[in-house]
Symmetry: D2
Subunit: 367 residues, 4 copies
Amino acid sequence: MAANTWGELFRVTTFGESHGAAIGAVVDGCPPGLELSEADIQPFLDRRKPGQNRFTTARREADSVKILSGVFEGKTTGTPIGLLIENTDQRSKDYGDIKDKFRPGHADYTYAHKYGVRDYRGGGRSSARETAMRVAAGAIAQKYLVEKFGIKFHAGVVQIGPHCTDPGQPDFAWQHVASDPLFCPDRTMSEAAQEYLKQLLKDGDSVGARVRLEVTGVPVGLGEPVFDRLDADLAKALMSINAVKAVSIGDGFAVAGQRGSEHRDALTPKGFASNHAGGVLGGISSGQPIIAEVAFKPTSSITIAGETIDIRGETSSIVTRGRHDPCVGIRGVPVVEAMAALVIMDHWLRQRAQNGDVHACVPNIEL
Amino acid sequence: MAANTWGELFRVTTFGESHGAAIGAVVDGCPPGLELSEADIQPFLDRRKPGQNRFTTARREADSVKILSGVFEGKTTGTPIGLLIENTDQRSKDYGDIKDKFRPGHADYTYAHKYGVRDYRGGGRSSARETAMRVAAGAIAQKYLVEKFGIKFHAGVVQIGPHCTDPGQPDFAWQHVASDPLFCPDRTMSEAAQEYLKQLLKDGDSVGARVRLEVTGVPVGLGEPVFDRLDADLAKALMSINAVKAVSIGDGFAVAGQRGSEHRDALTPKGFASNHAGGVLGGISSGQPIIAEVAFKPTSSITIAGETIDIRGETSSIVTRGRHDPCVGIRGVPVVEAMAALVIMDHWLRQRAQNGDVHACVPNIEL
Amino acid sequence: MAANTWGELFRVTTFGESHGAAIGAVVDGCPPGLELSEADIQPFLDRRKPGQNRFTTARREADSVKILSGVFEGKTTGTPIGLLIENTDQRSKDYGDIKDKFRPGHADYTYAHKYGVRDYRGGGRSSARETAMRVAAGAIAQKYLVEKFGIKFHAGVVQIGPHCTDPGQPDFAWQHVASDPLFCPDRTMSEAAQEYLKQLLKDGDSVGARVRLEVTGVPVGLGEPVFDRLDADLAKALMSINAVKAVSIGDGFAVAGQRGSEHRDALTPKGFASNHAGGVLGGISSGQPIIAEVAFKPTSSITIAGETIDIRGETSSIVTRGRHDPCVGIRGVPVVEAMAALVIMDHWLRQRAQNGDVHACVPNIEL
Amino acid sequence: MAANTWGELFRVTTFGESHGAAIGAVVDGCPPGLELSEADIQPFLDRRKPGQNRFTTARREADSVKILSGVFEGKTTGTPIGLLIENTDQRSKDYGDIKDKFRPGHADYTYAHKYGVRDYRGGGRSSARETAMRVAAGAIAQKYLVEKFGIKFHAGVVQIGPHCTDPGQPDFAWQHVASDPLFCPDRTMSEAAQEYLKQLLKDGDSVGARVRLEVTGVPVGLGEPVFDRLDADLAKALMSINAVKAVSIGDGFAVAGQRGSEHRDALTPKGFASNHAGGVLGGISSGQPIIAEVAFKPTSSITIAGETIDIRGETSSIVTRGRHDPCVGIRGVPVVEAMAALVIMDHWLRQRAQNGDVHACVPNIEL
C-alpha cells in the first residue's frame, strides 16, 4: 500500500511537511547509465518555485535539491536516488492562530478526523509544497524520456476565471509558455488574465484555472489494460495533484454530445486523420500526441473572512494570513508535466518488461 | 504490477475475453463473516446484462455467476472468492471479416502494436464484456458497505447527446433510475433521449453520454494522501472503464471559473454549508456525499462505413456488423457504481489498517 | 496486499479450497507469443497428482486443467491466463467428525482465531491442494524460461527420515528422479526409504523430508537488491509451500562454521572455481547453478491418536481418517520446481524492465 | 516493484551507498499518535554501530539519525517518516585499488553485470551499511509493538565457527546478550568464541555465524495465506540481510528426520504442549513464541590474498584492505531483530485491515 509512492517500476516515494526540516523523495527503478546531476533537476524546480512574480506566493524558498544517492561519477547506477530539499523559510507563527480552527476548503478537517492529530503549520503534509518533490522526480523521468524517445511535455494555463484560450486561437503557441508569467501559451489571454489577477489580489480573493497538457513523441503500445490503462493512470496522477477537481483525455466531456461517426478517428496509411481520442485507444498509447486537461480549484487561503468551526465544533470565523497564490493553477503547470512524465516513464518500463525493447521501436505514427 | 487487478486490500483480479470460454474474477481480501451467495450478486449483473431492451445490444448472455471459492456455509471465510461466468452466446463469425483490419476508434490498432498478436473476436480482452466481472466484484463490496455503514451508491445517465439534466431539474429523482430503460433519473430527459436514440438506430450511428455518481453515507477519513487520494483513485477507477474520457469531482471543470470565496464550503456546527468539493478534501472523504461525473464516448461500432487501414497498412473501409449498444454509457451505469464501491471498500480497509476501527465511528456529518 | 498473489511482473493469483467446487489461478503478465496449450501444463500437474503410488494419498483427482483465457490460436496474447481445475473427488464426510476440533499440527486453530470462521473440509484453503495451481502456473514459466534461456529445474528428495543422499554419492543422478516413486535422485537411498515408508504406513505415522533444488542456465543479473534479492524471494517462495520449515542457499547453515578464505568462490577467466554461494552474490544471480534446499515437516494427519482441544477449549483426542501422504515432501518436489520458476520468471521480467533485453545476453559463465 | 521497499502496509524504503553523502529511509504507514523522537531510535543504531569493540570493524561512524518528517509535537502524524544518517567517515581511497577488480564472494561481479556500472567504494549499495536504516525503521516498529502488545524481540549469536550453544545449555540466558561483546546469550560460548576470534584476526581471516531469534507476545492470527505467510515473509526478510544463506523456523531442517507423531504440537486447555512449529501454523501465528535461526556467511573481505579476475576478464589477485568485521554475524543481531519487527508490524496492520481490531484481542495462549 503505497500512499506516498507513485509507480510500479519507476517508483517515487515522497516525504516531508510544509514546515518540517526538509522534504525529500526516493526514486527507485531508474535505469542505470543515465547522466544525471543536480543541474539537470534544478531548472524544473525553479519553474514551480514560489516568489517568482507578483502572481505567486511571496514565500521565498531556495528549493535547491541535493542528490544523496544512486548517482556515481555522473551516472545513475540503478540503485535508489535519494533527493532532498531543506525547508529554509518557515514562518510557523503565521499559522499559530489557526491551530484550533478548520480552514474551510482545506484538508484540516479531514486530516484531523482521519489521523486524530495534524501538523497545522501551513497544512503540513497536505501543503502543495510536497509537489516540489514530484517535480524533482519528474525531471529525471523527463530527461530519460527525451533522450530515449524524444518525448516532449507541453503544459500551460488555458483558463483563469473568465479568461480562456485553446489551440485554435491565433496567438496560441506552446513556446510562449516559458516566458509567460502565468505559464499561458496565449499572450492575449495572458494579458487579460493578468489584469484580472491584479484586481483579485486587491479583493483578497483567489481564482481557479484550467491547464492543458500535450505530450508528443510517445511510442505506440504504452498502457496496461484493463485497470492500469495509460489514461486511467494519467487521470489518477493528475487528480492526485493538490486542488485538481477534474481530468479529461482528448475531447473529454464533449464526447457525451458526440456521435460515433463524428468521434472515431479514421486511420489512413499516413496515420490517424484526427485525434478526438487524445492519443489513447483501449488504454494504450496510439502514437498520437497525448492530450489531457485538468481543472484546479481556487485556493481557499484568502484574506476574505470565512465561516468555519473550531476543534470543539463551535462556530467561528477565519482569515488566512500566511502567503498564498491567488491562482494555484499557475504553479501547477510544471507539476502536471512532472506527473505525466512519471506515468509515461513507469508504463515504458512496464511495456519493456512484458514485451521487450523491440516493441519500443514501433514507428510513432503521426500526421 | 497488477494490470488486471484493482485495489490494495480489497483486490479484484479479472480475466477473460469477449469470445473466450469464460470470464472470471478473484476477489481477495474480503473480510470474513459476510453473508454471501450468488443471489446477492446476480441482480447487479442483470442490470448491465445485454439484451435488456431495444437500446442495448441484442447479444444475449445469461451472465449467470458462480461462486467457486471463499464462501462456506453461506459466509465469506476470508479466503479468495473465485467468480466465474461462462460465455454462452459467441458469434465469432460476426468478426471474421475484421480479422485483418483495425476498427477506427477501437483498441485493435494499439493491441496489435503492443502485443504483436490480438484476439480480434469482439475485441477480445478490450471488450466491455470484462466489466461484468467488475460489477460482480462490486456487488460484494456494495453489500459489505451498506451493511457496515449504510453507504448507498446512486448513478444515472444525465446526458445523452443534446439531452441532459441535473439534480436541480424538477423531474430529477434517483429512485427513477431503477425503472428507466436508459438508467436516467429524469423522466422528461429520458423520454426525449429515447426518441433521439430511435432515430440514431435508424441512422446506424451511436452517441456519447454523461453519467453522474452520488455516494451517501461515506464516513469521514477515507483516502490516503498524497498519491492514493480517494478522488485520485476514484478518477483512475472511473477512467479505467471502457469508453470513459473524462472524470470530475464536485464542481469539476467549473472550478476553473470560480473564486475562492465562492468555492470553499463553509463549516457550521451542523455540518458543511455546501458541497462544491464533492465530498473530498485533501484527498480524504469529508463525510458529505461523494459526487462525481464521467463522460462515455460514443461506441465506434456502427453500421456507417468508416475509413481505416488493414494490418498491411493499406487503406480500407469497414462496417461493424456485430451487435452493439447505440449508447454504451447506459450500461456503464452499474459499472460506475461498482468501481466506486471497489474504491471505497479498499480505502475503508486501508483506513482500518492504519487507524483502526475507532476512526470509522466518527459521526458522518451531513446537512 | 496480495496474500494470494505471487510476483510483481509475472503475477500468479490462486483461489480455491480442498473441497470446494474448483481451484483456479490467474497468470497475469505472461509475455505474448508463447505457444501454450493444456497439453503443456498437464504433465506437470500429473507429477504432483495424488494417487500415483502407495506412498501418496489414495485420493483420486483427475486434476485436469482448463485454460479459460489469455491464449488465442495456440499462443499467449499478453492478457491474463485463467486456469481452472474442478474438484471431482470430495469426500467431505471424512471431515465431519473434526468439525469442532483443532487438529494438532494443522492450521485449524490459527484459521479459526484469525478469521472467526473456517472451512474445515480437508483443511479448506490451508490444504496442499492449492499447490496444484502453483504447479500449473509454474509450468508456464518453465516453458518460457527453457525456450528463452535453456534454464533447467532439477528438484529431488535427498532425505526421508534417517535416509539421505547428496550430489557426492555414487548413485546420485538427477535423471533418476523422473522414474523414481519417491522423486529421489539416488536409487540406493530410494530403496532404503521405500522400506522405511512401508513400515511407517503400518505404524500409521508420517515422516519429514529434505528436497534439493538445482537450477542451471540462469543468466547473470537476476535479482533486485536490497529487499527483493533473488535468494530472498526464493526463500519466501519455498517457505510459502505447505509444511516447509527451512530454506538454505548454497552451503546453507554450514557457512556458520566456515572461514572466509574457505567460503568465498574464486573467480577465474574460465568462471567461478567453486559454488559455495549457490549461484547468488549480493542477491543477484552469478550465472552459476542456483542451489537451494528445503525441509518439509511430517504431515500431522496420521492415524495415531493425538491430544488436542475442541472449539470450546475442552481437552479431546483426534485421529485423522481422511486420505493422506505418509511423506508430503515427495509430492512437494514439483511444487519446489514450480515456485523456483515463478521467482526466476518474475525477476527476469524485472531485469528486462530496468536494464533491457541486452543485459540478458550476458554470457552465462559456468565451469 | 519495490526492490528497495519492505512491507505492504508498514512500508520501509531505504536508499544510500556505503560511501555516498548519506543513507536514509522513508517509513510509510506508521499509525498516528505514537510518541517518537530520535532518542527512541538511536539506541538501536548504537548496537549495530561499527567500532564498538575489537571484534567489529574499526570504521567509526556516529550513525546519528535525524527524523525529517512525520512527527509533530513528539507524536507520529500518520504521514511518512523521513530518516537520515549522514556518512561521516568515508575513506574512499581504501577502495581505489579494487576499482577494476571483482572481489571474490562480493557483489562486485553481479552488480557490474546487472547494471553495467557500479559504485565500487565499499561495495556501494551492496554494503551492509544499508542495514543501519533497517535498524532505524525496525526501532519504530519495535516501539509500537511493545507498547501495543508487549511483543519482545530476542536475538543472539548461538554459533561462531566451531563454538555454539542452544537454549538447553546451563549458561544460556537472553539477558546476557545486551552486555556481551559478541551479542551471545551464553557466557561460556562467548569466552571460547572470543579466543577463537583473536586468533582469526591474527590470521587475517573471517568466520560465519548462526543467530537465533525468539519473539514473544505475538497475538494469534498474524500472517496471510497462501503466499504471504508469516513464516514466508520472515524467511524473505531474514534472507534479505547481507551475508545470510539459510533461514529456519521452529525445528527447521531437523523436521526432515522427524515423525508426525513426534513433530505435531499437542493442544491442551492450557495451551500448546510443545513448540516444534516455532509459533507458526499454516502460515499464521499461533500465539506461541516465534522461533527462527539464520546463518551468516563469513565476510569475504579478508587480508588473505584471493584469486579473482579484473573487469577485462584477466586473472588477478586481491587483498581487501579496508576495515571489516571478522564475523559479520555479530552486528547482524540487531538487524535480525529489526527485520522480524518489520514483518510482524506489517502483518499486524494487514490483520487489522481484514479482520479489525477485535481479533487482536484474542488471548495470547502460551505455556
